[in-house]
Amino acid sequence: MRKHLAHLSDEALVALVARGDERALAELYDRVGRVAFGLAFRVLRDDRLAEDAVQEAFLAVWRTAAAFRPERAKASTWILTLVHRRAVDLVRREERRRAEPLDDEARDAATTDSAETEAWAGFERDRVQTALKTLPDAQREAIELAYFGGFSQSELAARLGQPLGTIKSRMFAGLARLRELLDDGAEGAS
């Protein structure tokens, strides 16, 4: 059965989940769960909270798969959006944010163990990290503090002592540049 699901696209799996197929949900978790947990952990810095965020996000996937529109987004993007939203909500509630969410890249790399998907995940991670590094520092900082630190734009403005408009422009310029950089290397996914 696993073999049967293994060659389906993520989007096809979501369609099966919408029909109540538990095995399809399990397969989606097996594909996206690791990255989802990595993301939630990066934001929350706590195993239990990160697991809660992922669990709630997958429950939301189970409940609302029927509303997913594949022409709008990749299934993995949708799931990671749910996980991220939940993680940010939790981190703001828990007041758990660390001052410097950027200092642990080495630790992140060290705690990543290998799996079948590691080669692909590693490639993708390198690509994104390389793209991030080419951004001007101020833009990268704004994006990383927001996305991984869970800070809102107005919190960042206060924290960095910059006008809100400046923070917004940095984030826009940075994300637009990242989009270009990542599109270049991608196989025309739109």
Binding site: G33, G38, Y147
Partner: protein, 235 residues
């Protein structure tokens, strides 16, 4: 049109808006194709950022807990009467999922032109989210038409219609609530967007009541013009 709100797209994609801005953006989004497209593309970039964040491996129990959650809610799917296909249900949608679903433009909502200023859009949209997010809400199938009605405990209801055709100029869809008095009460006019319509009904639906939809002249009518283009099972 409203350039201020368009600028929120990046902040929304990164989950970096304050709650009020987030609400305002979610209210704006369904009616703005430009923002929907921009957001879809920025969301892909944010999704790519997620790939850069590797952490420890989750415990094996997490997978089990997720599957146990799913097993505990097998009512994910409701099968309707034989000749109809299986219709997935939006029951018990969490706030999170509802907001994000609206966020990525999965629900296309277009309000009556005259009402479509930000304030009205905001209050209506929030009405939709609060009903969809109510864990006690029930989903009632349509007896005719594609879609369903989600009814919260107090009768507050959201009508979700699929495969809705665009109407010629000068015409509008209008929803009706028919209760024990058997009199149809006007519950709001709407236009579909992208073949879909999601409408918070203007009045609660009483137990045993029915929700119906007709096509009327622009501005709406006080009594329905038959035929019904959609009608629900009793709520």
């Amino acid at each position: 049109m409203n350039s201020g709100i368009h600028e929120l797209t990046v902040g929304y994609a990164l989950d970096a808006l304050d709650p009020e801005e987030r609400d305002a953006y979610e209210a704006h989004l369904p009616g703005c194709a430009e923002c929907q497209e921009e957001l879809a593309s920025f969301s892909e970039v944010a999704g790519a950022l997620a790939m850069a964040a590797t952490g420890p491996v989750p415990s094996p129990e997490l997978r089990e807990r997720i599957l146990a959650d799913a097993r505990a809610e097998p009512q994910n799917v409701v099968t309707l009467a034989p000749r109809r296909r299986t219709v997935p249900v939006l029951a018990a949608v969490s706030t999170l999922a509802a907001a994000v679903a609206i966020g990525i433009g999965l629900y296309a909502v277009s309000l009556n032109g005259k009402l479509d200023d930000t304030r009205a859009a905001l209050s209506r949209q929030q009405g939709v989210t609060s009903v969809l997010a109510d864990p006690t809400a029930r989903t009632v199938a349509l007896a005719s038409g594609d879609g369903n009605v989600v009814v919260a405990r107090g009768g507050e209801a959201v009508l979700v219609l699929d495969r809705v055709e665009r109407l010629p100029a000068g015409k509008t869809y209008q929803s009706w609530v028919i209760g024990a008095d058997r009199t149809p009460h006007a519950a709001g006019t709407f236009q579909p967007a992208g073949g879909r319509a999601v409408l918070r009904l203007a009045m609660p639906v009483p137990a045993g009541g029915v929700v119906a939809v007709t096509i009327e002249d622009a501005g709406g009518a006080t009594t329905p013009t038959l035929p019904l283009v959609a009608a629900s099972e009793p709520v």
